[in-house]
Amino acid sequence: MRFSDSRLEPIWDRVRAGERLSREDGLTLFQSDDLLGVGRMADHVKSRREGDRVYFVINRHITPTNVCVLSCAFCGFARKPGEAGAYEHTIEDMVAMVRDETREVHIVGGHHPDWPFEYYERMIQAIHAAHPEVQIKALTAAEVDYFWRRWKIEPKDALTRLKAAGLRSMPGGGAEIFSPRLAKLLKYTGKADPERWCEIHGIAHALGIKTNATMLYGHVETLAERVDHLLRLREQQDASGGFVTFIPLAYQTAATKLVARQTPPADSLKTIAASRLLLDNFPHVEAYWVTLGEETTSVALHFGADDVNGTLEDERIQHLSGAQTPAGVAREQLFRMIRDAGKIPVERDALYNVINVWA
């Protein structure tokens, strides 16, 4: 492999030998302007692990409430209790949002000050009872931490009870960027800090609950902060081993304007590639099509990503009429992104069991 940036050559030697990359290597990957050099190394790792497979899941998101006690500077979604636009779903509403065809339901919401832990427990019980085949992926480490802050329920107890209620896995949100500087600057000090976030994922892993991990990038963070974030995740994975997928989340400028524009495609491609290379103990790295757009997502499948998330059905899709099922319509869109990249769509469940290979 020839590189336009010769600093990548020793890194390539280590990648080929299967050796772990250092913090300095990580910085070089992010700083290099040899985008395709970084991408080719990541593609090599992805192909070695997964060949041409690219995963997706028939899923939907449920956001129980947007009421939140926090005021994170990057969030355009949260509302204060009683504020215009604030909403709270009932358990019946949420049960009705799920269809049996859905494989995974992803449940993440605000830190609601008045909802007791038992409300979440009943929510998961009710969805599980109504749709026993649907896998429930619910509650970020930040929300689990809030059960302790608000109700003094230990994460281990909370997760044990939620697992008994039907929780199968946990999403990776709430990590933001592991940086005390940014937590203060972007006003998320009231949220689980990096050590607490990792601790809760470790507890989940010990209980047999698989989890994901995220990183919110493309705002005011430094490249070094990205690298340190990834290395902290790698360290936690070494310790507890239950992370399934890493999902870099490109900051969306629509509601809050920390920066004027969304980070460009080349930065997202490089972030995906560098993540694939640094997170040598993570099974999967995702190109989340909702934040990246279809074009960049499709190209990212050559930059180390092996997953595009899922169909993310919503009411719009569910109300589409015609011969195709709602899931079928959404599936076609994902097929287009995956097949344009010359890859094979593999339908999975929340735990990466293969449902169908759409060769």
Binding site: G39, R40, R339
Partner: protein, 378 residues
């Protein structure tokens, strides 16, 4: 050079897999510094790892243009008529003569569009239209002459090859005479549209009344001989095979060897909305195929100075990514565009946004003329 190029042998499909790609990269024997052959072109367009093709294309781009500069043009693409007798299956823009929705602009109306573009800072007006047998030769010549006289800052980048053939038929003159008259009126560049895919099979299928590849090639050949510059386009993503794309590459590379008159290669993917061809398209061609075509072209078309990233047809994100796959030009502002719009495909951009997008991708933006002379670096 290459005037008497030997017949190009079409290799068997099995040859493409000869010397299988290494797991980590492109086939080892892909040369640098010599012209690629057809089997190598096929490898680039099919089974070579995409990013390896892109990285080689970026090398070739920087070998030719070492500065990290990406050019763009301030331009507009108005149309003078939608009346057309050619009935291309891929076109949503045209109307037959006498159709209720048919229209043709007067010379003054077209010049008003040129003026509007000039007022916004355009240095290029790419004017094209349907093949309308009711328009006399003088209409076209007046447009060129008046544009040159009244808007000296604007380059009249007018009339594609098939329109020049239409003028010739209507006037009863050889098309070479039309070229001479356009030259005398002040025209110096010709847009590359209407090439589609320069393969007899494809053009017979999608544009049977437009003639074979030679009808496009002969106009550009004779234009280059006279000193005109032009671009070469390629519209892929419909009924073509890889061999058809290679035929296209071979034809324009061979012509470029003769006079060097092509400034740039400009590929784009077919937009099926509202066209007769729509129902035949099974496989969508998205950003990955676009990047592959672009990068393969940069490597295969070794005698083309510029390769253009088409933000307009492929999307701005793909356009930005394409700058890392061998493209060195961003195309234009396209203040007015009606042909893609007819296929329900709309995209707009401002100069400020172009400058931002090029910078974000890590390059220095520079405004150019129709003939790729740099006017201003940002």
């Amino acid at each position: 050079m290459g005037l008497s190029s030997p017949d190009r042998r079409v290799p068997e499909a099995s040859e493409a897999s000869e010397g299988a790609p290494t797991p980590n990269g492109i086939r080892e024997h892909l040369p640098t510094g010599r012209r690629l052959d057809r089997a190598e072109g096929r490898h680039l367009l099919t089974d070579a790892p995409l990013l390896e093709v892109g990285a080689r294309a970026a090398e070739a781009r920087f070998a030719r243009h070492p500065e990290k500069v990406v050019t763009f043009v301030i331009d507009s693409n108005p149309n003078y008529t939608n009346v057309c007798v050619t009935d291309c299956q891929f076109c949503a823009f045209y109307r037959k003569p006498g159709d209720r929705e048919a229209w043709t602009l007067t010379v003054d109306e077209v010049l008003a569009k040129v003026e509007s573009a000039a007022t916004k800072g355009a240095t290029t007006v790419l004017l094209q239209g349907g093949h309308n047998p009711a328009l006399p030769l003088d209409y076209y010549l007046t447009l060129v002459r008046e544009t040159r006289t009244r808007f000296p800052q604007v380059t009249p980048h007018f009339f594609t090859a098939s329109e020049i053939h239409t003028m010739a038929q209507v006037a009863g003159l050889p098309f070479t005479d039309i070229l001479d008259r356009l030259w005398d009126a002040g025209q110096r560049t010709i847009p590359g549209g209407g090439a589609e895919v320069l393969s007899t099979r494809v053009r017979t299928r999608i544009a049977p009344k437009k003639g074979g590849p030679e009808s496009w090639l002969e106009v550009h050949r004779e234009a280059h001989r006279r000193g005109f510059k032009s671009t070469a386009t390629m519209m892929y993503g419909h009924v073509e095979t890889v061999d058809d794309l290679l035929d296209h590459f071979d034809a324009i590379r061979e012509l470029q060897d003769m006079f060097g008159g092509f400034t740039a290669f400009v590929p784009w993917s077919f937009k099926p909305g509202n066209t007769l061809l729509e129902k035949w398209i099974k496989q969508y061609k998205g950003p990955n195929m676009y990047l592959r075509v672009l990068a393969a072209a940069r490597l295969y078309l070794d005698n083309f100075p510029h390769v253009q990233a088409s933000w307009f047809s492929e999307g701005k994100a793909t356009g930005q990514i394409a700058l890392h796959f061998g493209a060195d030009d961003w195309g234009g502002t396209l203040f007015e565009e009606n042909v893609h719009k007819a296929a329900e495909y709309v995209n707009t951009i401002s100069v400020d946004e172009i400058v931002t997008l090029i910078r974000e991708a890590g390059f220095t933006p520079a405004q150019r003329t129709t003939e790729y002379e740099i006017l201003r670096t940002y």
